[in-house]
Subunit: 104 residues, 2 copies
Amino acid sequence: MIGIEPLSHHELVNLPETFRLLGDPSRLRILLHCTDAPKSVTQIADDLDLSQSLVSHHLRLLRGARLVRGVRQSRHIFYRISDQHVNAFLIDMIAHIREEHCYS
Amino acid sequence: MIGIEPLSHHELVNLPETFRLLGDPSRLRILLHCTDAPKSVTQIADDLDLSQSLVSHHLRLLRGARLVRGVRQSRHIFYRISDQHVNAFLIDMIAHIREEHCYS
DNA sequence: CCAACATATGAACATGTATTCAACTGTTGA
DNA sequence: TCAACAGTTGAATACATGTTCATATGTTGG
């Protein structure tokens, strides 16, 4: 059980904010969908059966937290996971979910 | 950029739910405070300047998601982080927050 | 250049939820 | 045993936010 280093004010604000963003099912599905390969907005909307508008709203927030990064390619904007830390905590969180519940 | 394995329905429900729980500043502060060492409810309430009732409410939710684990010791119940995966994604998330923003 | 496409934005609404207050349960030291 | 302590619970409320609809911006192929 290692301790977490003291956090700056900036970090104490951004940390819960970033968790909160992933707390919405639609938004998390969008993020997870982008771990596969870069996806355009309409592609995401079609694949996940969400409105284009909603996907755009969510991507804006995900971009703001630097969880995804979009690059324009002709008419489309392809979104992908921003950095490897994002993959890392997604995998860790999935591992936690899968952890066996032991009633001691 | 590795892909995330396909998730079960159970996981697709619990994953955002767990993120959501950490999205609240008070709740996250409580969890972070428990990474240091096991803490009693009143201890947490005093240290973080939150009401005992509020801390109890939040701990109930954190327990439900197996993010913390409490053990009774005489009158007090000492809460600690549940498993190492919790520490892992906290550290990964902090690393993401600290990642330099590069405008490419 | 412009019609068609791709994405973004703003307001409005409906739902969810963090916090407080009050009361309750359970534990132990004297 | 019982008064004092530690923690839990439920209802009520004030606030936040996800989603939709309509519209706007921006880009490109023909």
